[in-house]
């Protein structure tokens, strides 16, 4: 084999390798280019606003002014010392986790029912989505109207029946938090139903059949088969709904505006109060940063729990 032949062979062999490397580089470059719009969107719509809010949280700025003065952490100090802060944190957790518990419980119960075979199951599944499709404003105002002292049909029945509950929960010091949680639950439980129902349909029916043969009761089947299968998805939707409930502004604002006596004033309403009530963009931004921190911390906890759950299932 001549030397020239070997060189020619080596060149012929390396050509596809070079070509393949060039292709890889090219593909990587194209992939990078294709990602760019998404990266730009995330930077522009998420990272930049968060950065702006963080910047604003260290400025003193009025609502009707574009002038800013750097004040360091003074806004955070003002927020933490504000009389409404501790109460709003407590209200936010009560609202978020109260809503979450009810949404999960009702969502799971309804999903289990809808997972069974019965006549008219499909239209009933569709109708169940109704409250989720209604806009927040419509839902909140409709509930408020139904409980109105002047014109509310539910208020009328409660008064006529003499039930030991407030005729209008939204105007009651003791019942207002329950009222806003109730409306938020009514509005959002179909989301849970959808997710749980989808997961329930992935569970192998043979597991239930085998358990039944072994003499397991319905509750034992639920406890040992259904619930473990649902737990990972429960954690994911639990995290999402916690964030959404925590950030919910519409329901509380439209029903009670945070009252009575601050009983339903959650952190988003307090941000609103700082900005549009006390005309301070800086304090509003500082509280928004605190809320962001709380939500990130909670997401991390959920994520750790989710990973542990996945490890156990593996």
């Amino acid at each position: 084999m001549s030397a020239s032949y070997r060189v020619a062979m080596a060149a012929a062999e390396s050509r596809p390798r070079r070509l393949s490397r060039w292709r890889e580089d090219h593909d990587r470059f194209v992939g990078f280019l294709l990602l760019m719009p998404l990266v730009a969107l995330i930077l522009g719509l998420t990272v930049y606003p968060i950065g702006q809010v963080m910047h604003l949280s260290m400025q003193q700025q009025g609502l009707f002014s574009t002038e800013q003065t750097f004040v360091g952490l003074a806004n955070f100090q003002n927020v933490l010392e504000h009389e409404a802060f501790t109460r709003s944190v407590k209200n936010s957790f009560t609202f978020a986790f109260g809503s979450l518990s009810l949404q999960m419980a009702i969502g799971l119960a309804v999903a289990l029912l809808l997972n069974r075979q019965f006549p008219l199951r499909t239209p009933i599944r569709g109708a169940m989505l109704f409250s989720y499709l209604v806009p927040y404003v419509v839902a909140a105002l409709t509930w408020r109207f139904m409980f109105s002292d002047a014109t509310g049909i539910l208020n009328y029945f409660i008064r006529a029946s003499g039930l030991p509950i407030a005729p209008s929960p939204f105007g009651s010091i003791d019942w207002s938090m329950f009222g806003v949680i109730m409306v938020n639950t009514w509005k959002n439980f179909p989301f849970m139903v959808l997710v749980f129902l989808a997961q329930l349909q992935t569970i192998d029916q043979e597991l239930y059949e085998a358990a039944a043969v072994d003499g397991a009761t319905t509750f034992q089947q639920f406890w040992n088969i259904t619930l473990p299968s649902l737990l990972p998805i429960m954690l994911v939707v639990g995290m999402l709904r916690t964030i959404w409930n925590f950030n919910n502004f519409e329901v509380v604002f439209l029903l009670t505006q945070g009252g009575p006596l601050g009983r339903t004033e959650t952190l988003p309403l307090l941000i609103y109060r700082f900005v549009f009530g006390e005309f301070s963009l800086g304090r509003g931004a500082a509280l928004a940063v605190i809320v962001f921190g709380i939500l990130v911390s909670m997401s991390i906890v959920y994520w750790i729990l989710y990973e542990r759950m996945q490890d156990r299932l593996r």
Partner: protein, 444 residues
């Protein structure tokens, strides 16, 4: 930095809307109005049509935002650096905007409308002897009462706190509440409760803008308001602007303290007016009520400042202003003596239906009306009389938006708190907020 970051879309939208007009050489004025009542908006639209016809080369863009969001809308424009021309804002915000130097003086407009003397009481927002806004909606809250219920109970319209409380107690039942009074933690309750402070010969600010809330007379007024809430419907604890009047209209309450309780009633059910009476201004140590406002001003940096001023002048000419009053006489009383004169011979159905209630009872309450924005410390606490201090109070907006006095009343009414302690706490918290607002305003 901030200007770029906040709602660039608003800027783009504003440019997109206004751009074509500018390129055609048309002076376009954006009129940001808080009016959403369809009948009143109809009047505004008719004004626009007439103005544009009379002033070729101009255009008015009418933009409505309810009073609950008007501040947000104005703030969005300011923060985005977008053009703002004529605004129809709440009085607290217009005082803040004027104090911050964002509004243009309107003295030339006032001169063309007959000078300051041609305007009725409390119609001009004056800072450093310059007029910055004109009050288009000088509504006065008064007690509106059901004549049939009062007659059946042998009661006369109340003139003082004792009679008021007696009437509310006497008329209160499971079916009908004694009084429709807002008890929510909001601006409505704050405004209504402030009236009781004035009636008790005290004020929440003095003429030097010092807070006076922590005082026995304020606590007495709060206790009186809380006592009246016992005879309000059970959900009054969450009521704001709309619910008291709904309750009264629906027949669930015997009395209501409100600015324009009869305007919509007239339009929807004229016969009801005869069944409703307007009581004299109530008092304790002195008679007093409030004067509401929807102030019209123009931004100093408006690119169409002169056309904006012309538009304001146009709205306040007696003939045009009278059209608005005829639609909503209690919410939009005349602002000038000339407009008042023009209305005397009005053939409008509303004017006739109200009969003597407007000229002789409702508008006649004007001398007892206090504008807390225009005259800080309007109550002379020595003589128990109303005075004109001409000190604009930009911190009323803090009082109204913090809702702390309303919360003190809630604590007294629903938690049985000691009035003096509740009011003292509200004072302390409000003082902190006012100090912050003062610091922010001082920088501007």
């Amino acid at each position: 930095m901030q200007r770029r970051s906040l709602l660039v879309a608003t800027l783009l939208l504003a440019s997109a809307l206004a751009g074509p007009a500018w390129t055609q050489g048309i002076d376009t004025v954006r009129f940001l109005s808080q009016e959403t009542d369809p009948d009143v908006v109809r009047v505004q639209r008719a004004w626009v049509e007439k103005f544009v016809t009379e002033n070729p080369g101009t255009d008015i863009i009418l933009e409505s935002a309810p009073n609950t969001v008007i501040n947000q809308r104005i703030a969005t424009y300011v923060q985005a650096g977008a053009t703002l021309d004529v605004i129809h804002s709440d009085p607290g915000s217009s005082a803040r905007l004027a104090a911050a130097g964002l509004l243009a003086p309107l003295d030339d407009v006032v001169e063309r409308l007959g000078g300051r003397d041609g305007f009725l009481r409390n119609r001009l927002l004056i800072v450093d002897d310059k007029v910055y806004a004109l009050n288009q909606s000088a509504g006065i809250p008064q007690f509106h009462y059901r004549k049939d219920l009062f007659e059946a109970a042998g009661l006369q319209p109340p003139t003082n706190w004792e009679e008021l409380l007696h009437a509310a107690k006497t008329l209160h039942s499971d079916e009908v509440a004694g009084i429709a009074l807002a008890g929510g933690e909001n601006r409505m309750t704050t405004i209504m409760a402030t009236i009781f402070v004035w009636q008790n010969c005290h004020d929440l600010f003095d003429e030097n803008l010092n807070l006076l809330m922590d005082h026995e007379r304020t606590a007495e007024a709060a206790a009186m308001y809380a006592e009246l809430l016992k005879y309000a419907p059970p959900d009054a604890v969450s009521w704001a602007f709309q619910e008291p009047i709904e309750s009264f209209w629906s027949g669930r309450a015997a009395m209501v303290l409100y600015w324009h309780a009869l305007d919509l009633t007239y339009r929807q059910n004229p016969a009801l007016i005869e069944k409703v009476g307007i009581g004299p201004v109530v008092g304790n140590r002195m008679k007093a009520t409030q004067m509401g406002a929807r102030n019209i001003g123009v931004f100093a940096k408006s690119p169409t400042l002169e056309t904006g001023k012309k538009w304001i002048e146009f709205m306040f000419t007696p003939a045009n202003a009278a059209k608005l009053t005829e639609v909503s006489p209690q919410l939009y009383p005349p602002a000038t003596k000339a407009a008042m004169a023009a209305l005397k011979g009005s053939e409008a159905g509303s004017m006739k239906a109200f009969g003597d209630l407007l000229f002789n009872v409702h508008w006649a309450a004007d001398p007892y009306a206090i504008s807390e924005i225009l005259h800080a410390g309007a109550v002379d606490r020595e003589t128990c009389t109303i005075r004109e201090t001409n000190v604009v109070n930009p911190y009323v907006s803090v009082l109204w938006n913090s809702n702390l006095y309303a919360r003190a009343i809630q604590k007294i009414a629903y938690e049985g708190a000691d009035p003096a302690a509740a009011v003292a706490e509200a004072h302390r918290l409000l003082q902190e907020q006012i100090d912050l607002a003062k610091a922010e305003l001082a920088k501007q």
